[in-house]
Symmetry: C2
Subunit: 170 residues, 2 copies
Amino acid sequence: MSTVPTETRTGQHSLFGWSLAALLREWSARVDAAADDLPQGTRGYQLLTAVVHGHLPSQAALAASLGIDRTVMTYLLDAFEGCGLVERQQDPADRRARRVVATDRGLEVLAAMDARVAAAEEELLAGLEPAQRAVLRELLERAASGTGPDSDPCRTVVQATRPAEAPGTP
Amino acid sequence: MSTVPTETRTGQHSLFGWSLAALLREWSARVDAAADDLPQGTRGYQLLTAVVHGHLPSQAALAASLGIDRTVMTYLLDAFEGCGLVERQQDPADRRARRVVATDRGLEVLAAMDARVAAAEEELLAGLEPAQRAVLRELLERAASGTGPDSDPCRTVVQATRPAEAPGTP
DNA sequence: TAATATCGTCTGCTAGACAGACGATCTGCC
DNA sequence: GGCAGATCGTCTGTCTAGCAGACGATATTA
C-alpha cells in the first residue's frame, strides 16, 4: 500500500482515475500470468471473451468493443486463427464483413481461462467483503455499459429507459 | 450500447475486466479532451495529481504509483519542468533521489483541471444515481488501494506455488 | 449506372516503451 | 575506514505496437 496516496484524501480531489488505472493494471497483470496458452495475454482473453459472449457482427464491431484499431484486429485475429481458436466466416448478409466465431478448442481454452480469471479476480478484490465485490461488479458494469463509441447521441434516453433495479441502494 | 454485450450475461462469465477497460478508456478520452494546457494529456493529469497529493518521495516512487517506467518518468518530468509546472529538488536525505514538487503555476493548473475532471466524471457516471456513484468511487478506491508493486509480499509466493489451479482452495 | 460509404487488409512511418549501461550515492559488512 | 552490492536518475540504442493512408471488394443510395 505504500504507493497509494491514501492519507491525502483530505482534499476533494478524486482518486477515480487513479483507482481505475491501478485496478486495471493489476487485473491485467494477473490475467497475463494466467494466459499462457493464449496469444496476446490479457488482450487475447478479452478478445476471445468478446468473440464468444459478445455476439458482435463484424471485426469492426469487435474492435470498437475492445477499443482497438481495426488494423490491429486484423493481425490479432490472424494469430488466433493460426492457433485454431477462432475462425473467420463470411457474413452471408454482407460479404464485406467477416463473422468471427470460436472453434471448439477456443471454447475450451476460454472456459479454462474463465475459471482462472474468476479466481484471480476474487484474489484481486480480497480487500472487499463478498457483498461489496458484487456491488462493485454490478456498478462497474452499469457505468461501463453507458460508454462506447456510439453511446453518446442517445445515452441519456437509453439509460432513462433502463429499469432502475438498484443493486446496492440503501 | 451496440458494443456492449449486455444480453449475454446469462452465463457466468465476468465483465469485470471489460468494464474496467471501457470505463478507463472513456475517462481518459474525456480527461484528454479537458487537458489542453497539460503535456501528455491524461497521463500528465495523473502525474500532476500524484505530485501534488501523493507525497511520494522520489521519481521512482512516482513512477511505481503511476505504473510507468523510470526512464519514461525522466522525459515526462522534463516536459513538465519545461512548462514550469513542477520542479525537481535534490532530496537532502538521499542525494541520489529527486523530490518532485509542483510550482504555483502547477497548482493553479491542477486546480483548474480538477474542476473540469470532476465535471467530466459526473457526466461519465450519469447512468448511476448520485448515491451509487459515491459507492462506486469508494469501493474502487478501497479495491485499488490494496494493489501496487509492494502491497502484497505474499503474492509472489502464491503465484510461484500456483500450478495453474484454483488458488482459493486451502 | 454512377457516386459514395463501409469492410477488411496491407504498407510505411513514427512515437513510445523497454533493456542495458553509466556515474553518483547509499547501505551493510568486514 | 574501505569495499561490495544495491539504488537513484539519466542516457543511448533498439524494437515493437499503433496509426494514417491507400487499396480492392462490396453495399447503399441516387
